[in-house]
Structures are given as C-alpha cells and as structure tokens.
Amino acid sequence: MNARWILLALWPGYAAAQGFAGLGTDAEGFALPQPDPLFDFPADHGPHWDYRIEWWYLTAVMEGPDGTPYGLQWTLFRSALAPEEGVGWDAPQVWFGHAAVTGEDFHHVTERFARGGIGQAGVTADPFEAWIDDWRLAGPSFDDLTLSASGPDFAYEVSLEARGPLILHGEAGYSVKSDAGQASYYYAQPDYALTGTLTLPDGEVEVTGTGWLDREWSSQPLEADQTGWDWFALDLDDGAKLMLYRLRSADGSAWTAATHVAPDGTVTTVPDGAATGRATGTATVAGREVPVEWRLQWPDMGIDVTTRPLNPQAWMDVAIPYWEGPVIVDGSHTGRGYLEMTGYE
C-alpha cells in the first residue's frame, strides 16, 4: 500500500526526535505542544493546522437486542506535510480513516485515504463535522453526534449523546509521552450513550452501548526508541472510566500514564509508573504473537483487573496493521472496554 508511509508518521520511530528544548516549533515549522494548555472549545474540536498529526478516535462497546456484545471503531487521522491548511490538489494535508466492527466471531475492517484541500475529508469545529468520503461524525455539538461508516462488508450508523463533561488527560490536557519530553494535547469524551444500527453481512442489528471519543494532536509524539503502545479505555460497571496507556521502549521498559474518572466525575491522572499493565496471555493473530490478555494495576485507586478480548483476532489489517478490539474486564472491577495495541507488526 502506497500510503503506508503516511501511517508511519503516527507510529514509533517517526522522524528524528527533535529533543525537547522548550522550542515552540520543530525544524519543519510545526508547532510543539507546550505545558499548561488553555483549550478553547468548540474551536479545539477542529483541526490544528500548526501541528503535524491529529486524530478523532471513537471506540464503542455495545450489545444487540439479545445481549450479543459488539464493538466498533471509527478514526479520522490527519497527517500534514507542511503546517498549513492549503487549498486544491496541492494542500499539504493527508487524511485517512479506519473503521471496524467486531463481534465474538468476526472483525470487519476498512480504511479510506484522502488528500486535503478539496473537501473530500476534513473537520469543522462548530457545528462539529468530521468526515472522510461518506464516513461522518457530525452533529449540532460535540455532545450530540451521529456517526456513520461503510465498507465492503459492513456499515454502521449510530447516534451518540454525551452523559458527562470532557475530561483532560495528563496535566490539564498536556500528555507527556516520554522522559525526553515528547508530548501531545489529549482530551476525551469518555461517556457517550450510543444507540444505532450495525449492518452486517447477515443483516441489520439494533445496538445500544457506550462510546468513548479521544482527541489528540501533536507534532512528534514518540521517542525514537519507543516501539509501540498498548492503550486501554475501560467502562467499568460501577460507573467509573479508566484510560491507561503504556508506551513500550525497545529495551523492554514502558512509559505508563493513566486517567481515572470516578462515577461522581472526579478525574485523577497519574504520570509514569503509578499505574501499570502487564501482558498475561498471547494469541497468534495474523501470523504473529500478540499479547491479548492483560493485568492492569493502579493500587492507589484499588484497581487490579484483568482484560480478555471479545475476539482475539481483532487485527486491523490496514496500511500499517495493529490490533484493536473490545475487551472484557474482570477482577477488582468488572466492565468492558477497548484495547489498542500498535507496534506488533
């Protein structure tokens, strides 16, 4: 796939790490995230042309009328060749989207690519609309959205209603990714009530569930030796939400950060080390071993849970492949959620 390199921009080993010296821009003129951001919503729901990469990332866990569990993913990525929006064929923006729907025994994936500047893909902040081709995440506001995507073997259309406020990951939305100081801006809406329809090869399924939307942008997200990440977004049965990611280094260590949203809305974020994740079981997926079972611990929060995949074969066979699918949570807390694992190619 020729657009493969574009995805590389998002993945480890991307670009020579600029080092973090408090400079406002990197060598090619892209802005770098700075601590203590002041977000301006709804404008910040839209694109940040000064930054190299950006995404609108929605995952949802759902069930059908008979209780059958499903998961869906919808992601719009923006990757810039230059820090400007541009108009026409020359616009230095590349957009791509991933969509997937997962059940216990199936996993349908498709991807789309588009160049910026011609209207084939884009994001507007107010009213909110993010789109690529016929895929669309849009609504009168960020709290009230409709989501659709289609592929050769599936389609879905769901509506999303926010049940709580946006939460800011890291330090007020400034999310540090390594000791060297790589960082991104990172916020989320972790609790959408979801209703809608999945169109599967066997027919349509009405679903209800919970959605989680992540927003992140940066210009140099990872340290050069970071090989990939394991990212969890869990919806616990007691009403709490847990986000935890670990960025793996080539030497086997991992940088871990986590965010906890209590049922009453209290947000707790911790930097590296306070919460940990450890793989406990692997599966052979698309010819490689992938750690699909995990144990997550956050002693200060009394969290000690395991996750197992709804479908271990939730391989995203796209330009740069990765694993992403729904998981089931057990242990000190029960619940469900989404796991994304990159760098296991």
Partner: protein, 791 residues
C-alpha cells in the same frame, strides 16, 4: 573406477566430435527457439502490465464525461461513498503525462515502488515524475524531481495529479477521468443521482486491447510450443544416437567390472552437464533471436494496438530459468528411455542396436485411433465454440491429432506403394521404407508440424494481407487527409475549398452501444462513399437509408459483440436506428457506427470536424496553397498513398516475426530428420548389407537412401497441406473471431504450397544427404563384417 568410467565415456565424444556437436547444437537450437519466443512474449507482456497498471485502464472501470469532470463532482462521489480516483493526463513534448492521486488510486501508483520519503516528495513541493529514461529525457525542463522507473510504460510518466495539472497547464478543477475501484461499499447511491452525465466505461474497453494483444501473444506462444515440440524431436534423435552408439562401450565397461548403477548414473550426469551447457548456449541464442525480432514486435504492437513496448530487451530471470529447465527437462525426457534401455541391457547381450525391435502394427493402430480421436475432439470444440481458450485447445488437438495420424497414414501409403512395385529392388525399397518408418516417425511428425504451421500461418498472413489491402483501398479513397487542428479552422477549410474539392469531414464521437465501446462517425452523402465501400452484408439501398437518417451502419466487431444483425435496432444516443449494413473495420478494437451526416449533426450538435478527407477537383498544389493560407501546413496533410503504406507497413511487420519463426521451425525440423537418419544409419547396416551383397552398389544404395527420404518427406508434405489449411481456417475463423472480433475471409495461395512442398523435399534431401553419403562410402569390409559377426 569412476574416473576410468568417466574417461571411457568421454573418449566416445572425442572420437565422434560431430555427434557431440549435433547433440549440443540440437538442444541449444530447441532451447533457443523456445526461449526466444518466450523472451519476446515476456518483454511485451511486461510492457503491457506496466501500461495497464499505469493507466488503470485494463483492470478498472472508468468514468468519463465530454469536456471533463469537475473536481466538485469527484468530491461529491467520494462523499457519497463511491470509491473513485481522479486522473489528469495529457501530452507534453511527446510524452504522456498521467497525474494520479496516490491516496485513492485503486492500483496505487502503478508499477512504481516507493518508500515513504519518495511518496512524501511525490505529494509535496515540486513533486516527482516517474518514468523510463527515454520518457524523462523527452520532458521539457521543470522543477519536479525526475525519478528513473523503468517499469513505467514506455512513453509515459507518472506523477501526482497536482503536478500533472501544473505541467500540462490545465485547470486543476477539471479531471479527465475517474478510475472506479473494484470493491465498493455495501451500499452506494446510483451514479446519476450524485454526478449526472457521467459515462461509465467498463474495463471491457481496456480488456479489448488486452485481448488483441493476447491474441498476438497466443500466436507467438503457439509457435513457441511448436518449436519446443520440434526441438524435443531433435533432442530425442541426438540422445538416442549417442546412447545407441555407446552400447558396446557400456557392455565393455560392465564386462570389466564397472557397476551398472555407476555407469547409468554417470551417463545421466553427463547428460545433465550437456543439457546445461546446451541450455546456456540456447539461452544466448534465444536472447539474440528475441533481440533481433523485438524491435519489429514493438513496432507492430505500437502500430496495431497503440500499446507501447520498449524496443529493448532485458534479461528476465523467469525466462532464463525456464530456458535452462526446458533444456534439462527436454534432455531428461529424451534421455530417459535411452538410459532405461542401457540399464536393462543384459550384460552379455549383443552391443548392437536393434533396428528390428521397433515398430509393430499394433502400436500404429493405437496411434491411428488416438489421432482420429483428437481430430474429432478438435472438431467438437469448434462446433461447440466459445472463446479464445477453446480455439487454441482445438488448434492443439488438431495439430497433435494430425501428427499422431501421420505414421499410420505413411505406413498405409508405403504399403500401397509396395503393391505397385515391380522387381525386387523396388519392392525392397518400399518395404525398407516401411521398416524405417518407426525410427523416422518422430522426425517426420516434426516436419509435418513445421510444414502445417507454415501452410497455416502463410495462408493466414496472405488472407490478412489481401483483405486488408482491399479494405484500405475502399476506406482510404480520399486523395488527401487534413488535420485542421480545431473546429473553427475546420469550418474555414470547408468554406475555402468549396468548389475545388469534395470535403469529407471526419465527425466522430466515442460512446457505448450495448456495453461495447464504440466510435460513432458521420458519412457525408457523396457518391464516392457508395462507389468505394463494400459491405459484409447490407439491406436494399443502404446509402439512401443512411443519408435520410433512416438507418445506420455498424462494424462487424460491434455486430458480433452486441449481437446485432441487419434490420435490428442499434441503441444510439438520441434514439435507436435500424442496422442497414454491416461493414468490415479491421484492426479497430472499438466498435463503429456510421450515421448519415445530418443524423449525426442532429444527435451531436456540439461535435465539429477537425480532420477532413479531400477528393480533389483542383490541382493538389493549389489545394495545398489554399490550406497553407488557412495556417494548415504540410505536416498536417497526409496523402493517401503514404497513409496506406503506413497502415500496410504495420501489418507487414506483424507477420515478419511469424515469417522468421516459420523458417527457423522448418530448419529445426530438417535437423531433427538428419539426427534420426544418422541414428538409423548405424542400426541399418545389417539390413543394407544383404542388399549390397545381392549386387547393388554402395552408390546405388546411397541414392536409394536419398530417394526414400525424399519420398517420405514428400508424403509428409502432402499430409501437411490439409492439416495446414485446417490450421489456417481455425486461425482465421475461430481464433481470430474470438480474439479480434472479426472473421477474415480465407484465401488460398497454391503458389506458396508449391514452394513449401519444394522446401520440404529439400529439407528431406539435405537431411539424408550426409547419411546417404556415409552409406555410399561405407567400407565393404564393414558391410562384410555384418556376415562375419554372428548377430
């Protein structure tokens, strides 16, 4: 021990260097023919694949619209879910510039492999242009980085759509065409609802070119297979001879204590070494052959089908390996039986070849049944019909069946001949012919196939040439053809030449009829048309119906593909019209519809003529001067003779390749016969010796040898004639229709047959000259030994 065995085996070749030469040469020649043909095929195919991948034309449907497609429509289609990808293309400095969007193009960016930094350069800044060296060199200077990509189709460069729009000075908001991906989302709205007025050109259009070129390649492949079959006959002969002659040596070695397994194993190894050497030689020869023929092939394909093939050859590992494999496999095939016989030879058996052991009436009868069955199969396939594959299957069955039938037929012919024989010598001659038949039959079958292919292909070429010449005479009847450049100047031309020439405007649009891509053309109502055109079939007064707009002509290709016959309505933009005539339109991959000029202008008012045929009523110099006044110089004027010569030249080149292969095949067949005769000569001494002892001189025996071989070759040539004609009929009436969509009338060229017959006799005589000469020079002592040795 092994050393001694090896030296003993090798000593044979030192004593018989000529045999070694013929063995290696035979294998090398067979390999060369096969690999040469394959090389041409591989090279041409690689060029098409590059072209197809570059242009996305063969594999994908295309959306087009007269005047271009707005970029907004492209975005609307994408936003409706349609997986389409834009292309802006044009010519600059003689180079075709294809601008793609690598993000959405279903075939990616064709044959170009890029890493991430390449693609970043492709998409940003001044961009990058990918192409073969010649195409890059021909581009005018510009800021875009030039990247050498030999696999891009010749005469074409690939670049980003933004760069292409800039290079061509085009409005970037107008797209030339959209490539439609094969896989679309589950549900997409109808095309017309999203972007009305688009025409979907199915991949059929590209596939047609593919089918045409496939036909040419199939033609070549058939030759390659034939060459291989003939080559195997040679190799079989050469190896058979080498092993037969060494039977005494093997016996001696074994008597001296050499284990049989070691001897057989070492002979096998020796064979492998020889096959590899011969294969390498053959590869070099094949490469040279392909190199000599490829420029013609390239020119042919470019002229005939508009497909660009690079005129140079590169060594592709695929066919090089295949060539070595063919050589080794062929040697193994041919050597297996010889080795088997050596392995089973009793230690104390006579070291003499057993000429008597061959043959057998039962084998001949079986062969006759098999041959007849295959001919029936060929007939069956033709009757049931269906496609190019079936056509070639029928061809194969016909050729193999014919070859299998040859020995039984020759046997019957010689038996009949024997009845007419008067006197013992004549009787012996016929009987000896029959006796030799089993040993010669492989070589004769090779000769038969070579002859039949020769007859078949020359008939096809001849038919094609006469038909096409006549066709050109009727279609290119105007005196001059003029390219006015644009419609306005075209209108001025019509006005300026009024009264001095009959002006025939070329009014043409492309479209689709019943899913077949067509060009719709107008014919002006002038007597010259009716005087020159001939139809394959026509109703009453077709020209009257055409001029009054009551009917249309359709080309044979369109009639076949859309299933149209006379009187049926052809569905056209602006309303259907009945077919009033079907005309021949050789060499055109698209279908053709001819309308009367008034009807055409009513349906396509936006089309104006840029090219014109002129029937001159005034001196040519005066017309040229008038055209020059309009700004039309001589470079835009073609005279009929030049046009015809060019068109004919294209077809001549097509068949110069097949002609060259014909001659080579016949030469190879002659060589096979020589090898077989040499093999037989050694075995036949015991049969000849009694005749010599009965009073015939050695020279007489030699002459009889010549005569018998010529006789067999003559019979074979006679048998080859009907087989060749059947082959030609299949090429013209089955394969050509399946591949090209038109059927060629078959014409017979008895002059060619006479020439071929003479050539076959010559090949036979040449092949037997040396064995006969050897027989005539056989020392009497050797003949006497036959009686001295107890066999």
């Amino acid at each position: 021990m092994r050393r001694q065995i090896a030296r003993a085996l090798w000593s044979h070749w030192r004593r018989a260097p000529l045999l070694l030469f013929t063995l290696v040469a035979g294998l090398a020649l067979a390999t060369a023919l096969w690999s040469g043909v394959q090389a041409i095929n591989a090279e041409a195919r690689a060029s098409y694949d590059a072209a197809a991948a570059t242009l996305g034309e063969g594999r994908f449907d295309q959306l087009v619209r007269e005047g271009g497609i707005a970029r907004a429509d492209y975005v609307a289609l994408r936003r409706a879910g349609w997986q389409v990808s834009p292309v802006i293309e044009g010519r600059l400095g003689g180079v075709r510039i294809v601008g793609l969007d690598p993000l959405t193009a279903p075939g990616g960016i064709g044959p170009v492999a890029m890493d991430e930094s390449d693609l970043a350069a492709f998409l940003s800044g001044d961009g990058a242009v990918y192409g073969a060296q010649a195409a890059l060199d021909a581009l005018p200077p510009g800021p875009a980085e030039r990247v050498l990509a030999p696999d891009v189709a010749p005469g074409t460069v690939l670049t980003d759509i933004a760069v292409a729009a800039g290079l061509l000075g085009r409005d970037p908001a107008v797209i030339d065409r959209l490539i439609v991906a094969e896989v679309q989302p589950r549900i997409v709205p109808p095309l017309d609802e999203v972007a009305p007025g688009l025409t979907r050109r199915t991949a059929q259009g590209g596939a047609d070119i593919g089918r045409l070129t496939d036909s040419f390649h199939l033609n070549l492949t058939a030759f390659g297979l034939l060459a291989f079959a003939v080559g195997i006959f040679i190799v079989h002969g050469a190896i058979g001879l080498a092993f037969e002659e060494r039977r005494p040596l093997v016996r001696t070695l074994r008597a001296l204590g050499a284990p049989l397994s070691t001897v057989v194993w070492m002979m096998g190894l020796e064979l492998l070494a020889l096959a590899l050497i011969a294969g390498a030689l053959g590869l070099a020869l094949g490469f040279a052959l392909a190199g000599a023929l490829l420029p013609d092939v390239a020119a042919t394909l470019r002229g005939l089908y508009g497909a660009e093939v690079a005129g140079s050859l590169s060594l592709r590992p695929g066919w090089a390996l295949a060539a070595l494999g063919i050589s080794v496999g062929g040697a193994a095939l041919a050597g297996a039986s010889a080795l088997w016989r050596i392995a089973r030879m009793p230690l104390l058996a006579a070291g003499r070849p057993r000429a008597w052991a061959r043959g057998g009436a039962r084998g001949l009868a079986l062969q006759a049944v098999a041959g007849a069955l295959l001919l029936a199969v060929a007939g069956g396939i033709v009757l049931v019909g269906g496609g190019l594959g079936a056509g070639f299957a029928a061809l194969g069955a016909l050729l193999v069946g014919g070859a299998l039938l040859l020995p039984p037929l020759l046997d019957r012919a010689l038996a009949l001949g024997a009845r007419t024989a008067r006197g013992p010598v004549a009787g012996w001659l016929w009987a000896d012919g029959r006796q030799q038949l089993p040993g010669l039959s492989l070589a004769l079958m090779a000769l038969l196939l070579a002859m039949a292919a020769n007859v078949g292909v020359s008939t096809m070429v001849g038919s094609f040439r006469s038909t096409f010449t006549a066709f050109l005479d009727q279609r290119l009847f105007a005196d001059l053809y003029v390219d006015a450049g644009d419609g306005d100047r075209g209108a001025a031309l019509e006005a300026a030449l009024a009264g001095r020439a009959t002006v025939l405007p070329v009014l043409i649009v492309t479209g689709e009829v019943s899913g077949v891509p067509v060009e719709i053309q107008a014919a002006r109502d002038v007597p010259a048309f009716a005087a020159n055109w001939r139809f394959l079939s026509a109703g009453p007064d077709p020209w009257g119906a055409l001029a009054s707009g009551r009917g249309a002509f359709v080309s044979e290709q369109l009639a076949r593909r859309a299933g149209l016959s006379l009187g049926e309505a052809v569905d056209l933009p602006g309303g259907a019209l009945p077919v009033v005539a079907i005309h021949a339109d050789y060499g055109n991959p698209a279908g053709q519809v001819i309308l009367g000029e008034a009807a055409f202008r009513a349906r396509f008012p936006e089309v104006s003529a840029e090219r014109f045929g002129l029937l001159l009523d005034a001196p040519e110099a005066e017309i040229r001067a008038a055209l020059a006044d309009l700004g039309i110089d001589d470079s835009a004027i073609t005279d009929q003779a030049a046009l015809k010569a060019f068109s004919l030249g294209v077809f001549e080149r097509t068949f110069s390749v097949t002609g060259a292969l014909n001659v080579l095949t016949l030469a190879v067949a002659g060589f096979a016969m020589l090898m077989s005769l040499l093999t037989l000569a050694a075995m036949r001494l015991p049969q000849v010796a009694p005749v010599w002892a009965s009073g015939l001189t050695r020279v007489q025996l030699g002459r009889m040898e010549l005569a018998r071989t010529a006789l067999l070759a003559g019979f074979t040539a006679l048998a080859a004639l009907p087989l060749g004609l059947a082959l030609a009929w299949m090429l013209l009436a089955v394969v050509n229709v399946a591949a090209f969509g038109w059927r060629l009338p078959m014409m017979l060229f008895p002059g060619d047959w006479a020439r071929l017959f003479a050539l076959a006799l010559l090949a036979g005589a040449l092949a037997s000259a040396w064995p006969a000469w050897r027989l005539a020079r056989t020392p009497p002592a050797q003949l006497l030994k036959v009686f001295a040795n107890e066999r």
